[in-house]
Each structure stands twice: as structure tokens, then as C-alpha cells.
């Protein structure tokens, strides 16, 4: 499944990095501790989080994540948005809460994977 399709299924809006929204999602990860995401997420993961600080873009970039999903209707901070555009990291904002987002993505056969 590609990022744009997944965004629709979770009622999300792609607020940044739309140019990279054709990318394929290979797995999923959910956490609000960025140190944990750095340690345990994998390339191609769609990452579900509450955090909207600019550091999320760097973490996504570092681990080559497919996209970031901000739940509960949270919008990225302005510098997060700017950095995500610059780095072409897709950010999806959705009104749904994390539990539902992850449930829907799971139903689309997106799975968590063991860290490398």
C-alpha cells in the first residue's frame, strides 16, 4: 500500500512531503518516545505518534521511514512542517486517535516488524 492510499483510509490529510506520497509502506511502528523510534523502527515503516516537534523529521529521515502520522488532529509545528517539506518526509495529520489508526493500518496488512 502506498502512503497516499493509507492516508485516505485513516481520514488523514497529507500536510507535508506530498511529493514522496507515492512511496510504499513496508511496515508500521508506534511510539511517542523518539529515542525508542530511533532504536526500533525500520526502513519503510509508517510511524504513528503524538509528537509534533521538529525532531520527528530527523528521526524519520535517519531511519528512512515511509511517513509520519500525527494522531488526534494534531498539526505539525511550523518548523516541523518546513523541515518535512525540505527533507521530503510525508506527514499525515488525522483526527483519529492512535488506537484506531493502528487498527485500520493493521487491517490493511501493515505489520510491526522486529527491529534489525
Amino acid at each position: 500500500m502506498n502512503i497516499a492510499d493509507a492516508a485516505k483510509r485513516i481520514d488523514g490529510t497529507i500536510v507535508a512531503g506530498i511529493g514522496a506520497a507515492e512511496g510504499e509502506i513496508q511496515g508500521g511502528y508506534a511510539s511517542d518516545l523518539l529515542s525508542d523510534v530511533m532504536a526500533n523502527s525500520r526502513e519503510g515503516d509508517i510511524w504513528v505518534t503524538m509528537q509534533k516537534h521538529v525532531n520527528i523529521v530527523a528521526v524519520a529521515q535517519l531511519n528512512s521511514l515511509a511517513a509520519i502520522v500525527l494522531v488526534n488532529g494534531r498539526a505539525p509545528e511550523p518548523d516541523t512542517l518546513a523541515r518535512a517539506e525540505e527533507m521530503a518526509v510525508p506527514i499525515i495529520s488525522t483526527p483519529l486517535q492512535a488506537f484506531d489508526v493502528i487498527g485500520i493500518l493493521y487491517g490493511l496488512n501493515i505489520r510491526g516488524r522486529r527491529p534489525v
Binding site: L33, L34, S35, V37, M38, N55, A58, V59, E77
Partner: protein, 432 residues
Amino acid sequence: MFMVDTHIHTCLSPCAELDMHPAALIDAAVGAGLDSIAVCDHNSAENAGAVQRAGRAAGLAVIPGMEITSAEEVHILGLLPNLESALALQAKVYRSLPGRNDENTFGMQVVVNEFAEVLGFNEHLLAGATTLSLEAVVAAIHSVDGLAVASHVDREGFGIIGQLGFIPPELPLDAIEISRRMPLTRARETYAPGGERSILCASDAHDPKDIGTAATYMLMEQATLQELRWALAGEGGRTILGGGRPMEDLALHILDIAQNSLEAGAATIEIRIWEDPAEDRMTIEVRDNGRGMDPETVKKVMDPFFTTRTTRKVGMGLPLLAAAAKAAGGELTVDSKPGSGTLVRATFQHGHLDRAPLGDIETTLMVLLAGQPDRNIYFRHRIDDLEFELDSRDFQTADIDLSSPIGLAILREAIRKGESGLRVFKYGRRTV
């Protein structure tokens, strides 16, 4: 030289003990030998004034502060120039702090005066997070001329690195703080290998017994925020000499004993550390040519009862070091005669599970040499067949003024080189 604990909560913080009222807290701070403290409750400064007044009565400088929780759930200390700034910052924080406290869930938030009388209960959800971003919190602190310090960066929960993966490079922090869990030596390697950040060691005390269990040693003229600002920036001859855990790190026990020697009028102090892991032995010696003690005084300073917190100045160090040696299968002996100086020797089983860590020798030497340029201080640290020697007389001979910024930098470099040289071994790095 000032020994400062920059992170102490009061009974206003819902997670702190109720006996953390200003007078008790100041008592404990004085007992721990601290010269100054900063009082930092979660998202509030309502007890700061009372602690300041209690401190004034005891001759202890109190810097008002606040530990603000950002929207990312990162804890940031704001250390502030005065009470007015603290209250201005508090107003800003309260406007961005949703929710009301539930005492049964989070604990009581007691507003008190310096006489331990309860004035009321704070109703804000102080345990909660503000809606202010990290950048906004730092900006708010700076807007009232405060210093912004990232709290306990070594902790996953509420620490900036745990929450955000790394310290945002653009964030204008004035310092980072490490908790009691992390030795300063490791913190330097991890967070400031090129000396790019100032590191504060602080207790984050929630209980009176925790006060002073971590502290920073600063070269300043007096304990004010402006002086602290200069020390963090290394300006005007002010500097951070080091830090650590005075009740635990052997290096700080050594410092404490050497300071007793200074008080005994010693012109020369010799510190020797032998580490012999192969023989499972470690010996620490502090020898001075001070006035010495008669047997009765020796007995007194060895008596833990005599050295309750309020009488630390008489030498809380010896019973503590004796306990540390005993716990590690060793012992402490004191050899002293009036007029012929004192020799303190502590032995340990090097690999004993309960052997306290050596801690940061750099702090010990920086405090002693920079603080007492007129005394002779000789230091030798030997591990197996490797040795590091430092003699303050060599600096005098080379005409290096240890109270000048350049002198301090040369001294620091010499200690770092010498100590790290001991840790490089034929099998690679080793930990001692």
C-alpha cells in the same frame, strides 16, 4: 568555590515528600555542605519565596526556579534571577497548563511559608504538561532573564533525549543536567566530548535525604544567577570545576578529606590512589602536614553520631569513607598526631560489588588546585603499571597562574590527558 545543587523540589510538587518544607530542606542542604541551592518545583514557583527566606536565615543562597514540562513532555529547568521573574514565568506557565490536580492520584501540592505553616493547596495540575513547545519554554525562560537547563538528560522519561531522540541542535539551552544515575565522566564523553555543553550535576531531590546527593562545583564570586550564567559560559574567571555524587563517588570523598586537611592548615597535601585489579585491591591515601589531631579528636571525627548533617563541617567525610571501605571488604585507618599531620588510608576490594565508583578525579583536582593556588598539592593515580602524577609545584615552576582562565584550561587538559591515559590499556579500553 561553591558547591551547588540546582534542582530541589518542595512539598509543592505532588510527587515530593510532605516533609520537603523550606526549613527542613534548608537544614538538609546546610548539612550536606552545600553553599547554594535552586528550588525547582514542577510548573510552579509558589514555594520559592519561602525557601529563599528560610535560606537567608541560615545564610544559604537560594536561586528561585521552576521545572517546566513542555508539550513534548520534556522537563526544562528555568533558573531565575529573582522572585519577580519567577512569578512572571509562573503566570505564563499557568496560562498554558490545563487541568486540575487530583490529590488522591498525584499527591498533595502544599503551599507553605518558611515556618512550615500550610498556606493552602495549589489546584493546578502541576504533574501535567504545558501546551508550550520546548522552544517556547526556553524562550519564556530567557524572556525573564533566566537560564534554561535540560533536566536529567540521562533519564528516558521526561528527559530531552528520551523524548526527542537527541537534543535539537538549534535549541539555545544554557546547560544540561545529569541525574545521580550517571557518572560525570561518562556524561562528558556522551554529551559533550568536545566540551560543547556545560553539565550540571543535581540531585532532583524529592526527599530531604536526597538533597546534595549530586552537586556541581563552581568557581564563582558569589551564588547569584549572574555568576552562574558566567560560570556556565566560562566567562570572567568563573567556571564549572566539576561535579558528581558527594555521598557516593570516592573522588568526592577524597576531596572532602583534603578540604579537612586545608582547614587543618596543611601547606602540603598528598593524594595517592593505587588500583590493582589483578590483586583485587584498591588503596586511597590522603596525607597532609596540617596541625594533626589527638587520639580523642580522631575518635570524634570517626564517630558517625558526631557527624550528623548539621555538623558536617567537622568532617562528615571520614565516617562516610569508612562505611564505603567496609562495604567493599576494606577498612579505613587514620594516623594522626598533633603537630605532625594526618594520614588517612582507605582500602577496598577493587572488584567488590559494593565498591563505590571512583567518580571524577578531575573535579577533585580542579577544586583543590584552582581553589587553593597557595597550597602544594601532589596527586598520584596508579592502575597496574600505569601512572599519572600531578604536582601543583610544577605549575608554580612553569609560572602558570591556576586562578586565570588559561591556567584553568591547562590544568583541566593535563588532568584529562593523565586520567584518560590510565584507561587506555593493551586490551583496548577498560573501565575502572
